[in-house]
Symmetry: C2
Subunit: 459 residues, 2 copies
């Protein structure tokens, strides 16, 4: 079915066509093309478009569809668009949005605009929103939707089936209905698949599943929710409050977003970029976003330079040391980063805890020591051959061993310590680590060389 | 509901208890504890346990449950366990496994063991496996399962409902049944939610959805499948072959694994670690796994050193240059890595294509230039104050501008070029990039200094 492949791969061709139409000022044509696309494709298109064109495209989208498009955008792209909408437009676009998507949009608004949008809503909607916004961000409460369908345990399946036919439609990603008692306390669930396969004369109580491990407390962290969904392959799960009352449900599509955000956060954090950064943000905005990180890095680079500055006399006596002194910190930095990445991933997926932390520290320090030996021998040989000096080879080897050992120790203990202190290891870990490996590498290399020179040993 | 929180947070406490029981040799107790846990929790436990204890734990698991546990393990942990099983055990454990999980396990086996396991299977099962294994890895074909339920268009809903009740159970993550004609050509789907809400006297054809964008060609890449699922919030989707015949279906739980693997791959790749690395692998295995990367890094570090070696005379004349020469490459490396991370993420989520590539290159080069200006001015000031030399400040500034400009250019063009050459930018990009930024940084800094010195300009 080659036409199918084409359907799926024509996204960027379509964008090219849209861009051409846009540049030629054929706005009517662009508007028509946009209206024929599903909201998720328009969202992808907006996110793949530089900011100036993005704003024009947005003006040409169908106002009826704008709410749906907003839901699909990532945070930074959404903010770039929210900025151009006035509170009336916003209230209109967000009307009828699911509560979880609505709060996602509202949380991105500046405080004054947000107040104005709230005022535009009818009091029912406003009340719903205020309840949802009361749950802290990054918890199950802020992830959940309130589109649950709840049944009483004593109804017969036949009645349930008739009720569903009357209702006519089910919320997205509904794979189970929930069972509650008169006080709205959660009792269990009835999967749709089960509804379809049991004898209709049974009643809800006799076919419902209990599965207490599937109940999510409203205060649970987003990250734990994602781990549970991933581990158990759930499509949806009920959320209950402290009293055990059913307050909403979480669906897999929101969890997929969390999983992507969390892993991207680790990657982008380690590379020193804000994970919200919009690939097609304006140049100045991206530059500003990356400045903080570069500023911190400059400080650590100056710190490392100040260490070699301690040895200026030694460097003046022997320029070869300046040539060789960058090798050890480079190798130590990579080894430490490898350890850091393994530990950050282990923490993120929940594999690391009190039970295995000691073993992990031992393991990474041992790898640091082993790597230290391997690369110490290698660098000794390389430097001996290159510079024809056994002493320089031995100095390099000693510094290499010391730095790689420290890389293992720092690479595992920095993220574990930060996690304990509630500092995000993905954000700050890399910077602290390379400061350690740079300093130890330079200090040990130039320090040993200075000792030998001061004792008038020819190197 | 604090007991719920406890249920969810007791994972590591349980591991501690298991470890204690294991150390005390209370194997009967451990075996009982393991048998009370669901397979996904046992899998998490195995993955959180160092390799020696992991092997003992595995011996104590319920043989009936071993197949289910294997499915839940990540690749490296699974391999560590497959190694200790003989072909008969393996064939027994994999009996009745879903075909997608079975091929996942079989692909991890050494060739000879794999043949022996195949021989242990009955001919039906073997035939199914051989068909599944014929699809290339990393395509929709290798992701799909063949547990589809297919309907004919002319049947009435009433008949469908009666058939389902007779059948008694539906495969995991079934949110829709598929409709095919006599030649098994795919026609459309009937969501379960729709089955429950329509009038039973209707027939399949009148209520089925067509949704051609939802049909997945069997040769589509895993990554594209994951992007489609994520964009459209699907739970499952049909897979068809070149003739349009229904050959299987893909479910969200497998897609979640792909999404996690892909984003982890980018993070681990940029940090220089194999993304399959088992956090609790034996020390020597992890050391070996990280060696290749450290070897390549040593080569690039030696290359950078060979560049400063060109300027040994200059360094001998002025040791302060050795102190300052590490600052510019450090800053260039970070700026380049920021750009690299943004581009790698953009490529992974499909936001970058022919339509916006030029703009992106322009943007990142512009950011490089702007950053170059900002940090050139900063470093000029810092060096002037620190070393009391306008000339050294100006040399640092010029080198900083050149290196950060190159960092922007290289950071965006290296991954785009690699993508075109079908080289994985997440794996090789970082190494090539820092080689460029290190070389340009050192060469421009020491080069300008040498020019000035040779013209007898006091610096």
């Amino acid at each position: 079915m080659p036409e199918l492949e084409q359907h799926h791969h024509s996204q960027h061709l379509r964008i090219l066509e849209l861009n051409r139409a846009l540049n030629d000022g054929m706005f009517v044509h662009v508007r028509r093309m946009l209206q024929q696309m599903p909201a998720c494709d328009v969202a992808l298109l907006l996110q793949s478009t530089p900011i100036t064109e993005r704003k024009i495209l947005w003006q040409l989208t169908d106002p009826e569809q704008q709410g749906e498009i907003l839901e699909e955008l990532n945070e930074d792209a959404m903010e770039s668009i929210l900025k151009m909408m006035d509170p009336e437009n916003l209230a209109a676009a967000t009307e009828g949005m699911d509560i979880d998507d609505l709060t996602y949009v509202l949380r991105s608004l500046p405080d004054d605009v947000y107040q104005q949008v709230l005022e535009q809503m009818d009091s029912d909607e406003r009340h719903r929103v205020e309840i949802a916004l009361a749950y802290p961000e990054d918890t199950a409460g802020s992830l959940m939707n309130n589109d649950t369908i709840a049944l009483r345990p004593d109804v017969s399946i036949d009645v349930v089936l008739r009720y569903l036919r009357l209702r006519g439609e089910l919320p997205e990603a509904t794979d189970a209905l929930f069972v509650v008692d008169k006080e709205n306390k959660y009792l269990g669930d009835v999967p749709l698949a089960r509804l379809l396969t049991v004898d209709p004369s049974e009643n809800v109580e006799s076919i419902m599943g209990k599965r207490p491990e599937r109940i999510i407390p409203v205060s649970m962290s987003e990250n734990s929710v994602a781990q549970l969904f991933e581990r158990h392959d759930w499509i949806s799960a009920p959320v209950v409050d402290l009293q055990g009352e059913l307050v909403g449900r979480i669906t897999i599509d929101d969890v997929v977003d969390i999983i992507r955000e969390n892993t991207e956060h680790s990657m982008m954090g380690m590379a020193g970029v804000d994970d919200d950064e919009d690939t097609f943000a304006p140049i100045w905005q991206s530059t500003k976003g990356r400045t903080l990180w570069l500023g911190i890095n400059l400080l650590t680079a100056l710190f490392a330079a100040s260490i070699s500055n301690l040895f200026e006399n030694t460097l003046a006596q022997m320029a070869t040391l300046a040539v060789l002194m960058t090798i050890v910190p480079s190798q130590g930095g990579i080894a430490g980063t490898q350890t850091l990445a393994v530990v950050i991933r282990g923490l993120a997926v929940g594999h690391i805890g009190a039970s295995n932390m000691r073993w992990l520290i031992f393991k990474e320090v041992a790898i640091g020591g082993l790597n230290g030996l391997i690369w110490a021998v290698t660098i000794a040989g390389v430097v001996y051959i290159w510079k024809d000096s056994i002493q320089l080879g031995l100095i390099s080897a000693a510094a290499m061993f010391a730095d790689m050992f420290m890389a293992g120790l720092a690479g595992v203990s920095i993220p574990l310590f930060m996690q304990k202190m509630k500092i995000d290891p993905a954000l700050a870990g890399g910077m602290v680590l390379t400061t350690v490996t740079d300093s130890v590498g330079i200090f040990s290399f130039l320090g040993i060389a200075t000792l030998l020179l001061n004792h008038h040993i020819a190197i």
